[in-house]
Amino acid sequence: MGHISRYETEVLIIGGGATGTSIMRDCALRGIKCMLLDKNDIASGTTGRNHGLLHSGARYAVTDSESAHECIQENKILKKIASHCVDKTDGLFITLPEDDLSFQSTFIHACSSVGIDTQKLTPEEALKLEPNVNPSLLGAVKVPDGTLDPFRLCASNVLDAKKYGAQIFTYSVVQSFIRAGERIIGASCLNVRTNEKFEIFAHEVINAAGIWGKNICQYADLDVQMFPAKGSLLVLEHRINELVINRCRKPADADILVPGDSISLIGTTSEEIDYSEIDSLRVTDQEVNILIAEGAKLAPILEKTRILRAYAGVRPLVDVSGGNGRNISRGIVLLDHAQRDGLTGLTSILGGKLMTCRLMAEMTTDVVAKKLGNNSPCTTHLQPLPGSVETADKQPQKKTALTSKAAAYRHGEKAVQLFDQSAKGKSIVCECEMVSVGEIEYAIKKLDVTNLVDLRRRTRLGMGSCQGELCTYRASGLFCEYGQCSGHDSSKLLIHFLEERWKGIKPVLFDDALREAEFTYWIYEGLFGAADVTLLGTAQNDEKKEYYEI
C-alpha cells in the first residue's frame, strides 16, 4: 500500500464526452501528448443522452444564426470525417394546421442566409418521402439533417488518439488539483472501480466535463455558474420514420422525432433543474405524457408504437454574465482561466452542443497548443476517423442482415478484419443488433469496455427491440473469457446492466414494457435467482435470514 502511480503528460483532459474525446484526438493529431480522464465510461454523460441529431442548423436558423452557422459547417465536416457515425437521412420541418404557415418563408429565408439548403415540399411530396408523417400537414421543408451516433463518434476519437500515443483512464475521478503557486500542474485521481489512487502531472489541464465542469472548477477554487436543463426522451421500439421530423416553428418541447438504426427517438422536454439533481435524473409521468402527445402530432403512428424506455440528459448551460445577474448562453464558452482568474495551467470548455464538439475541440486546442509552443495546425476537419477512412466516399448500408456489415458500420471495415473469424467469433450474441462474439471480444480488448453498459455503448448490444433480454446473459459470460472477470463478477455485471435498464423502463412501465419487465423478472429472478447474487459474500447474506415457524 502507499504506492501511487505517477504519470506525466503535456495535456490532461477531464471528461470523456464528445468534447473531451475530440480534444484528445485533436491534441494527438498535433503531436501533443495527452491523457483523458472520465469518472464513468466515455459518452456516458450528456453526450450519450440526447437525440443523436446531426443538426443542419435549421432548427436554430431563425432564433440563433450563430449556432445555425456552426451547425451547418460541422454538419458538412462530420459527414466527411465521421461517415460511419452519420446517417444522412435528411430532415423535414413540417407545418401543422395549428402552426402559422407564414413562418415557413421566414424559416427558409433564415436558412439560406446561413447557407443551409432547403427544399420546399407539398404535403403530398412530404408524405411520399415520409409515409408516417402527420397527413394533416400543410407543408414541409426538407433540410440536410441527419443522425449522429455519439457513442461511435467518441469511441472513434479515442481509438484514433490512442494510435498517436494518447492514453485514457475511464472510471477515474479527479480528487484534487496539484498546484505550484498560482499554477495547476496536475491532478490527484482515483480509479473508482479498483480504488487505486494515481497522479497525473501535466503542463496544461483542460476541463471538458460538461455540466460537471462546475465541480471541476471548484477544485481549483474557481466559480463558474452553470444552469442544468434536463431534457427527456423516449425510445420507440422500431424505426417509425426515415427522415428526422421537426416542427416548422420556434423550437419547443417534444418536437423532434429522430430515427436511429433500428429505433426512433422522440424528444426533448426542457426543464431547469437544481445542480444537486444532475446525477439523479428522473423522467416524470408528465414528461412521458407530453412526449407521447406531441410526438404523435409529428407521426400519429407513434401513439400505437411500443415505448422501449425513457432517458434524460442535462444541457450544460453557462452563465456568462460574470456574476452580474444572469446571462445564460447556449453557445460555446471557452474560459482561459489564466486570463479570467489569474490561474495558469487550466482551461475550461463549456456549453455547446454535440454538433459542435469538433469545433469546440479545435478552439480549445488552439489556445492550449499556443501555450505549449506547438504550432501544428488543426487537421481534425480533414482527416477521417478510423472506421470512416475507407468509407469516406460511400455511405455504408444503414440496415443490413449481415453481422459483418453491421459491425463494419459500427467500427469500420478495417476493425472488422481484426475480429476472430472462426465459427465462434462469427456466432451472433445479440440478434436484434447483429453483434457477434468477435465484435464483443474486440470491444472488451480494444475499446476500454469494462461492463455490459459500456459494451452497449460500443456495439449497440441490447439496444434493439428485446432490450438485451437474453443476449446480455450470453455476453456477460464472454467477460469471463476475454475480460479476466470471475464468474461472480460477470454475474454482477449482468445484474448491473439489468438495473441500469430498469431505470429507463420504470417511467414507461405500461403496455408491452410491463409485459417484458415481467418476463425479465421471471427469468432472472424466478429462474436464475439473481437478487441473491449481490448478497453473496456480504454480511447481509446472513442477517436477512428470518424463519417462519409454528
Binding site: 456466432s427 454475474s491 412501465l509 403496455d511 419487465a517 423478472y521 421471471w522 453473496l536
Partner: protein, 436 residues
Amino acid sequence: MKFDSIIIGGGIAGYTAGLRCLEAGLKTAIISNGQSALHFSSGSIDLLSHTPTGKIIRNPEAVFEKFAREFPEHPYSKVGKEIVFESLDWYKKILASAGIPLTHQENGDNHFRITPLGTLKSTWMSQPYIYQLPVRLEEHQVQRIIVVQIDNFRDFNSKMVSDNLSQIPEFKDIKIKNVSVSIDGFSGLKRNPCELRSIDIARILSDDHEISLFAEKLKKIASPDDILILPAITGNGDGLAVLNKLHQLTGLTIHEVPTMPPSLLGIRLEEAMSRLFINNGGALLKGDQVTKGDMAEDGDTLRLKSIYTRNFKEMPLTAANFILASGSFFSKGFKAHYNQIKEPVFDLDLNTIEERKSWHQEQFFSQKSHPFLSIGIKTNTAFNPMHKGVVVNNLFCTGSSLAGYDPIAQGCGSGVAISTGYYSVNQMLNNSGVNR
C-alpha cells in the same frame, strides 16, 4: 361448438383444471395462446418459500394453518391445507403416469435447487435429476461439485455457477470444479454450432450414439459421489428418456440446471400434461385467443354464456362452466394501459393499484416484491370473479390471474396454479348451476 367446460389458458393451472375436468367425465376444451410460462420455468413445483412479509419458510406443511390465519387473502388460505396437499399428491400421480416422476422431501421440507447463476432457490417438488439440497443447508452431504460447461454453448455458463456457489458459506469446504465438455455432434452441422439453443442440443443428444459418446466423456470427469451439474439440454419431446439413459450409462449423480430459455425442464412438464390431456380426450385449441364473451343476468349474479376466439371469429364456443387460467401480463391475462390495469377479455374487477409509480420497486432486484406481480382478479371464496361488482357464477379463476400473492417472491407460483386449478374444478362440480 359446445363443451361442458372450457379452460382459457394452457399453463400449469389450465392443464391441471383441464385434466381434472376430464377425470370428472366432462367434455373439455383448453384454449391456449402459444407458449406458457413453463417455457422459462425451472420445472420444479414451488409450494411456498417465503411469507408475504419476507420470512423464510422451510416446511410449508408445518406452518400452513398459521400462514392461513395470518394471510387470509392468499389463495392457499382460501383453498385450505387439505385440498392443497391433495392436489399436489394428485399432480404427482398424474405426472408419474406421464413419465415424469416428481419427488419431495419425506418430512415435507422445501429443498434447494441450484440456479444458473449458482444461487439457491427454495422449491418443494422436483424432477428426478434435480439433486435436492436440504433447506437446512448445514446438513448437506455434498463432497464435490463438478459443473459441466458444454463447449460453445452460451445459454449456460458454468463459471458463474461455480464461482457463485463457492461463495455460499456452507460450501466453503467443498471442492467445486469447472469442466468443459464438447459434444461431437456439433461438428458437421450446417448451422454455426456456437449459436445452438438448448432444444437444438436436445435434438442432437436424442441420438443413441451421441449420448453414449457424451456419457463416456462425463465418466472421465466425475465419480458417482460427486454432484454433476449439467445444463438442461435433453428431453425435447422425449421427456426423461435421454437423461435416464445417460444416468444408466454413467451411474453419476446428475443435477440438472435450467438454461436460458427455452427451458427444457419446464417444457417437459408442459409436454407431459398436454399429451395426457389429448390422450384422455380433451380438445386442445392451440394458437388461439379468446376475444370476448357473452354474459347474461342470472338472478343477482351473471352467467357467462359463450366466448369468441380469434380463430373461430363469430362462431361462439359455449360451455356450462369456464375456467380462467390466462396468466398475468406476459401471457396477456392482464393489460397495463398508461395509468390503469385491466383484464382485457371480460373486464373483470381487479385489485389494481391506482398510481403507476406504485406498481414497482425502485430496484429491479431486491428482497422486496414488485407490487405489479400481486395484481390480480378479485374473487369470492369459490374463486368466482366479479364484473362491475356482480359475481360471474360459472367462471372460475386460477393461477396467476388471481390476486393476493406474488408467485416469485413467495416461491409459490406452481403450487398456487395446481391447487387453485384443482380447487376450481371441485367448486365447479359443486356448483348448483352445473349443467351437464
